[in-house]
Symmetry: C2
Subunit: 192 residues, 2 copies
Amino acid sequence: MPASRREHLLDTAIDLFSEQGYRATGIDTILAKAGVAKMTLYNHFKSKDELILAALRRVDERTRAHFAEEISRRGATPEDRLRAVFDDLERWFADPAFNGCLFIKAAADYPDARDPIHALAAEHKRLIRQFLEGLAREAAARDPAGLAQQLQLLFDGATVQAQVCGGTEAALQARTAAETLIQAAIRPLPQS
Amino acid sequence: MPASRREHLLDTAIDLFSEQGYRATGIDTILAKAGVAKMTLYNHFKSKDELILAALRRVDERTRAHFAEEISRRGATPEDRLRAVFDDLERWFADPAFNGCLFIKAAADYPDARDPIHALAAEHKRLIRQFLEGLAREAAARDPAGLAQQLQLLFDGATVQAQVCGGTEAALQARTAAETLIQAAIRPLPQS
DNA sequence: TGATAAATAGACAGACCTGTCTGTATATCA
DNA sequence: TGATATACAGACAGGTCTGTCTATTTATCA
């Protein structure tokens, strides 16, 4: 029934890693939930770490595709597209399956920066920042890289706060703060 | 030689939890580094979870005391005290022992919000926000609670970004963005 | 149909983990 | 000195984890 055992394993793993964490999720738990034999997993992936890496690559691709599509669909002007980044946040936090950012948690579970898992998490954040920088440049921000990083601070901060404290209020404040930062970065300098 | 075995155990545990994570750090590792017998640990703490809770309480108290002292020492005006919150960030990130926020990582390692460890992490974030709200109120912000949360988004976002991507640039952008948000929250409304 | 590939269940080794127990040594204080 | 509390080293039980292996069954496709 599953399109491919490999993809089904990845989706199951993503769910469990998100819910319980990487180290806390045993191989056997993934196998039981997916209804797949152990050797099938080890035929598709060399090790648990390779499974984690493949799962994260999948989430990275999905996330960036979703970003690109949703944002270009919603925002009429480049400025609106920057704002649109924060419009999905509240719905995301309200989703019962929300459990924080998989990449932030990966970097926490594998703290050594040389670990391929940690490195992949860092690369994902870099790609998102790059995407924001493109939007900021189109919107004629004075310092596109700076605005992109500032907005990412709000984005990640909100994600963390929703995960730690629960609730969705962080999304609203992030949206409000983003508006302020965008205005300040695009409009003519206030006093000079 | 150590003042008290209990405190020495806590300090050692904090170092290792910060470096490797909670689940990834075994009791035996803590004991070996602290040079303490296993029964001594279990005489002072009922379980590993109790040790984690005690360690987090210690860090919570230290952090809030440091905040209160450093900020009131540095900032002349209430507005300066809000800024001062972000002045320490860069030094913190540059510290070789920096490994992200212990509370964010605790909430990630113990994702169930009913878990006492997760609950303690959430409470810590709440207390920090409360502290910021007090400063924002003294600074005559229009919406002290809102500004406090916005600044916390920057703070946590920067902490996460420094942990995941390394480097200290997040501190600078957080400082810059904080300035913009403070200005916008305190000065008269720009257009009305 | 028959041959080849893929998936199954489940046992297993070896490592690691938490928490308990024992018996001995050391420190504190009357 | 003697009595009491604390710390010690280290073995141990019972559990979990990853990854390997085997032997059997199910798909696939010519």
